[in-house]
Symmetry: C2
Subunit: 151 residues, 2 copies
DNA sequence: TTTAAGAATGGGAATCATTCTCATTTAATG
DNA sequence: CATTAAATGAGAATGATTCCCATTCTTAAA
């Protein structure tokens, strides 16, 4: 899997993280597929050349540096996604039959309303609300069958 | 902890579930505190007289019967909440410093917009969206923590 | 370039939540 | 109260994540 590693190296440097093989691999992979990936996805793609414990540490580091975000799917699997500057604020739609995750943007109007609502709710509860997530769960017409793992 | 068990017994009967001590205890407890509770909360309140495996089974049963709902807090802890008919559709606000969970209603107008938006998104992605969740995360003072820990 | 010091890694053990197994107990029915 | 299926308790098994530590790699300075 020959990948261009410049993207990853630059990103790491920009965030003051040392450039190591596992970090570069993970970032390049996330960039290549440009979709949320699970621990297992990444392990498989690396052909298990990265230690599992290292992968967790790498994701924690990238997450703290705000290079990626992590969240969990309805079946509690950890998913990781790049957090580009250009990538706009979005939410997730899970298909529980084909097990895909789709990025969804709500659009300015609704996001604006939500923001306003959130600050009102924050005041009411005396809580500084830093984040919110909106997730949707559904199923496509692939009746209950899991799709073969995609590349 | 003397509790009135009529509520629980009636509820179980209504849903065709057998009336057993662990089920009655859990439902009475949820009713008494009327707030989302974790596995540990319930175990502590029961003074560990309920077996842990039983508690998981009871929650699974109650959940399938739609007597309760389960969801997880940002630190991946399972939370359980009663699902009354009267209890209106609501969302959750997590305070990550005091670790409380608040029920929040968005109000008719916004919920309506969201519903409309959801059906549009569903069409776009050819997915039948059955559920959605909207969650807010904040803190009442300033200490936060992520699910991926790194010291 | 070489090197020293700190940072990151690999591998495996430890931990934690959840599920499973099975022998025993209990609830519902008549 | 006897029968039968369902539920429970206890602990083992599983699976995900974190921890520990000896070894290796990165970086920055010499």
């Amino acid at each position: 899997m020959a990948m261009n590693t410049d993207y990853a190296r630059t990103l790491l440097k920009q965030h003051g993280l040392t450039i190591t093989e596992p970090r570069v691999f993970v970032l390049s992979l996330l960039r290549k597929f440009d979709t949320p990936m699970s621990i297992n996805d990444i392990m498989e793609k690396s052909k298990h050349t990265i230690a599992l414990s290292t992968l967790y540490r790498v994701l924690a580091d990238l997450s703290h540096a705000k290079i990626v975000t992590t969240f969990s799917s309805p079946n509690q699997k950890l998913l990781v996604e790049l957090l580009d500057e250009e990538r706009e604020h979005h939410h997730h739609l899970y298909c529980e039959s084909c097990e895909k995750v789709f990025d969804v943007s709500l659009g300015e109007e609704l996001e604006g309303m939500i923001e306003k609502l959130i600050s009102k709710i924050g005041e009411t509860h005396q809580i500084d609300i830093q984040e919110h997530s909106f997730e949707m769960y559904g199923s496509c017409n692939n009746t209950g069958q899991h799709s073969l793992r995609r590349n």
